[in-house]
């Protein structure tokens, strides 16, 4: 009531509203004016936390994101006994790195197991070696894995074991792509082809 009857309040508020509208319009136009062609992978710039973790690698070394600072990092969650999704995804990434050629040496694929119980470092090493030298197997304890799942908002869960004690693990399917400064840039999804991955990685390498 008082706000309306006061002489200068509407004026001040109107100016404030006009300023807010101008800022909103400018940012909208700015978004439209960004004229880079879109990536084939999902652009997640500014949406996902930068690369950060504390894990153990396939050679039993404690590693953090800083160890991969000058590489383009592809982060993927899976497990070595995965029947379909993990081998398919990793094979696609291997093909993409093959297409990249010598530039692939600037790329690291970090395969984080969500099944550290069965995936010992030795098992991990044997598994990732199938895909190429750029592939690195990582494992963590329960707390380290939970931290990662909170940070990257991913989920995994264990199915009931069969009578031989074998069980499957449902997990996220995305490959998180981080640039050389550790910023999250792209998400590779299961329907992306090796060619698409290679093209977008090349673009990220060229721009960094």
């Amino acid at each position: 009531m008082t706000a309306i009857s006061s002489p200068e309040a509407p004026h001040g508020t109107a100016r404030w509203l006009a300023r807010a509208a101008a800022i909103a319009l400018a940012s909208l136009l700015g978004a439209c004016a960004r004229n880079d062609p879109p990536f084939a992978l999902k652009d997640v710039r500014g949406l996902i936390a930068p690369l950060e973790f504390n894990l153990t690698d396939q050679d039993n070394r404690v590693v953090t994101a800083a160890d991969y600072r000058h590489d383009l990092v592809l982060l993927y969650f899976g497990y070595t006994q995965c029947p379909d999704e993990c081998p398919t995804t990793l094979a696609t990434l291997a093909r993409a790195l093959h297409i990249l050629g010598p530039e692939a040496s600037q790329v690291r694929v970090l395969f984080v197991t969500v099944d550290p119980q069965r995936d010992t470092t030795a098992v991990l090493k044997r598994y990732v070696d199938n895909f190429g030298p750029e592939f690195i197997g990582l494992r963590g304890n329960r707390a380290e894995l939970t931290d990662l799942s909170k940070r990257y908002r991913i989920a995994y869960h264990y199915e009931k074991p069969d009578r031989y004690g074998n069980y499957e693990v449902d997990h996220s399917s995305a490959v998180f792509v981080f640039d050389k400064d550790g910023r999250a840039r792209l998400l590779a999804l299961s329907d992306n082809t090796a060619q698409q991955v290679a093209t977008d990685l090349r673009r990220l390498l060229a721009s960094s």
């Binding site: 009531m1 706000a3 006061s6 309040a9 936390a49 908002r153 991913i154 989920a155 999804l189």
Partner: protein, 298 residues
Amino acid sequence: MSSAFVTDLSYLLPWQFSPTIFLICAVTVTLYVQGLIVLRRGGAPVGFWRAFTFILGIVLNYAVLQTYIDFLSQHMFWIHRFQHLILHHIGPVLVVLARPGRALRAGIPVRLRATLRIPASIGRPVRLLFRIIQHPLLAPTLFVGLIFFWLTPSIHFTAMIDTRRYLLMNWSMLADGLLFWWLMLEPRQSQGGAAMGYGTRLVVLSLVAVPQLLLGAYITLHGTPLYDVYAICGRAWAISPLDDQQIGGLLTWIPAAMMSLVGILVVLYHILHDPEGTAARRRGRPAQVPRTAPARIV
């Protein structure tokens, strides 16, 4: 045995702790309980069911934001829909129905009351903003618009992968739920400058149900997954994407729209008990009013 117990208790802990939510809930409940004690001593106690309704509303909102339900809401579409049914509908309705203002005010320590006076430089723009948001056209548009906005697949995707947008989504739903249901359910005479007539409310409540019904039906009956983020980031447990989507669609469709019916019943109750409305009826039919009635009404 004891470790299983600890694991069960851990479900009550926040997935991502929010000091803001914790503080708001703790301060609100403390003030409220203190207010209950003060009012009881003053001889004007708050009824049990009123207090129960308020506490239940706070507990439900807290539970969907700061327990394991929050994790499940990020990784299962239908639990996300359940979370928003609480945040945008059921939680705010309970809080508003309890009309906690009297007890909350009574709960503020006397010494603090003078220092807590809000300066006009803040109070004025806030009041103006409140009047704008609570405009009879804007409030229902915002109420329905927010549901559609956050359920737009591309926006839903970013809200689920970006922590800040996820928090913004949940806060916006809770804040809008409280504003909208206050406008719909609070008796007219205690709404001050933002008062809305009961007839208008019946129209608004009926109208906001329609787009919710349509959206819920669309999601439920859509033959392919609309929200791929749950497959990309992983689901909380094994469920087919379409089952997940259909349960989520039904939660958007039936209970959310049914809250309009609850609102309409509350407004009808207000119409029957409104002092001004009763006075008008009495003027029309003076002979039928019992002798004792005027004393009770005034």
